[in-house]
Symmetry: C2
Subunit: 379 residues, 2 copies
């Protein structure tokens, strides 16, 4: 009998331990032990999305650094007009396949600097250009030769370590951003999702109660550059289990961010170069959607959760619309950088949320301070 | 007057110093201070060319390691039939874009091992697959996930250095080969030719007089993988000046080796899948020439030197012919490895030279011990 009680005790202890672990799992801590993000006193939370900045492009020409200065001007103008609570860098922050330097973080830091200088917290995620391999311009092998760049052959030790151009991997970029910046809310996600790195969740709490989440922001790494342009099945499973754990009754609204549009975007896209008609809202429809290579279930999972309100992506510089897809919205940001293809005027998508009741609005703020394409995504 | 003599003395000293430097330049030392290569007692020197071995391909499947075993069988069979004095690995030794390991030198070493085990000296040069970036198979991101390979996510430290697949650069591959192998005659070329690495010259001396060169072997890196598929203008200049310095009167025959055919090969190629007719000699004509991206002058320089007898390349697995081009011969080797595309029977091109008078013959030795396509390239 004593033995039976002993066994029951062990089993009970095991279950309470398991339950305790389960509960720990369901609590969302802000990554890197940062102060919680909070709605402001007037119960709003405003986010600026900077997409496709492409810092460091053609850095060996006069043209390149000039574009970076132009991009910084856009960022400053938008930040000073909107004064957001938070900034999200939506991938293709740099053009790594174009960087004639051994470490890409210098250009990464340039992109972050207008936000940091204004004391605004931010988060970043990766696009397909951020840790792409350096692509040698074929003309560097003609008579003109390799131009004078940060890492010329004369400077590298030929007997041991080579000087490489570009190629700073996602993990290292993220590590350098986080370690150097107190205002960064970025994080490297669970290691089992590797080579995908920028997978993490941020909670934005009520102005009045820091322990009460009002909205969850999910960041996913849609690949590209050093590996295929996909959201993997492992990421889908991670999203499924994490969202179930932290928001089991789907009572807290959820907003999703990644870089490369899903194939679902193709299904609802207005015909390229035609007018954008309701229910879609936007101003730029100049190209076809360039989607991920495969769809392994993320959109299915998202549409099944009533709490998911919208997905925001970049990647297509010639698109800036939002269109409904089943019960949620699929939105493009706006090409914010002077790097990258396309000469459409630069701007940034703004997201504004209110707390009581929860609402989600968005508009586009242009470099010249004009505003357009306002749309209500949840009310 | 004394002053004038003083000036003349300084000028004369300067000229003799410059002449002395010039002379030093013109002497060819074997790279890495190796024992000089010599024609054998019967005044012949026989080389086996192993092309496109592609070790390490699809290493996470049963298929991959099986192909590597097959390739080693080919190498052993050819070496035992021919018993050459020297072996040249003509690029695409490994398939680096397919290596799920952090360091490619393990597969490089497998490729070298049949030659080393027989005590035969060798030299290597780089092909477009040897330091290509690892290409993630898209299916690794589906439900099946990343297979158990040498460097699974579970083994890497997520907080610091990432575990990378493939991607060992040319410099490092070459360094590891040279440091570990006394029989290797490979070398990293002058640093001003970087990112091109396998650029060097070997001298083969007379059986009777070790100081008297009978033939010079030139190795060039034709790029590809981590940078464009070209022989750069800098390499052309290097070849021009070095060949002028060590063989100013063009009295010593010269034979040239690189991986990717020049555009000149296209000009003389028999129509794909047609019979190979004289003056061309060969057995395999199953595809179009896949040439370098640009031609920046190497062929012009070679055709202007009467001492250049032939160029040998790999790359096209479905071609094994030699054709004359102006005063020299352009030859393909023979696909020796079971890795890489194509199922044509495997073999190796053999080169045999004699000393007095100089002659250059070639034939192809197959895995099944048969011989075909004998051709005289210089007599």
């Amino acid at each position: 009998m004593a033995k039976l009680f002993g066994y029951l005790f062990i089993i009970a202890s095991f279950f309470s331990f398991a339950l305790c672990l389960g509960e720990e799992e369901s609590v969302l801590r802000q990554p890197n032990e940062k102060a919680p993000l909070r709605f402001s006193g007037d119960s709003t939370f405003k986010i600026t999305l900077f997409a496709d900045l492409h810092y460091g492009e053609a850095a060996w020409l006069d043209w390149g650094p000039e574009q970076d200065r132009n991009s910084s001007r856009v960022l400053s103008a938008v930040l000073d007009s909107e004064i957001p609570d938070f900034v999200i860098y939506l991938g293709d922050v740099i053009t790594a396949n174009n960087l004639p330097v051994p470490n890409a973080s210098m250009y990464w830091d340039q992109a972050i600097s207008p936000t940091r200088n204004r004391g605004i917290p931010w988060a970043t995620l990766f696009g397909n250009h951020d840790d792409a391999q350096f692509e040698w311009p074929p003309e560097w092998f003609s008579a003109s030769g390799i131009p004078r760049v940060s890492c010329p052959p004369a400077d590298f030790s030929f007997s041991g370590k080579e000087c490489y151009f570009g190629g700073t991997p996602r993990m290292e970029l993220m590590k350098m951003e986080i370690e150097k910046n107190k205002l960064s809310y970025s994080a490297s996600g669970p290691k089992e999702l590797w080579p995908s790195v920028s997978n993490y969740i941020l909670s934005v709490s009520s102005a009045k109660d820091g322990a009460s989440p009002v909205v969850f922001l999910y960041f996913l790494d849609s690949g590209g550059g050093s590996y295929p342009e996909v959201i993997s099945r492992a990421q889908v499973d991670w999203f499924y289990h994490r969202s179930k754990a932290i928001n089991p009754d789907e009572s807290v609204p959820e907003v999703i961010f990644w870089h490369i549009p899903s194939t679902a975007y193709e299904k609802i896209a207005p015909r390229p170069r035609s007018a954008i008609r309701r229910p879609c809202v936007g101003s730029l429809n100049e190209e076809s959607v360039a989607p991920q290579e495969a769809e392994w279930g993320i959109i299915d999972i998202l549409t099944k959760r009533s709490s998911v309100k919208a997905v925001f992506v970049g990647h297509n510089h010639g698109l800036d619309w939002c269109c409904p897809y089943e019960k949620l919205w699929l939105c493009f940001a706006r090409h914010s950088g002077y790097g990258g293809y396309g000469t459409w005027p630069r701007g940034a998508r703004i997201i504004e949320m209110t707390e009581h009741p929860f609402s989600l609005k968005s508009w586009i703020r242009m470099e010249d301070n004009t505003v357009h394409s306002e749309v209500t995504l949840s009310s």
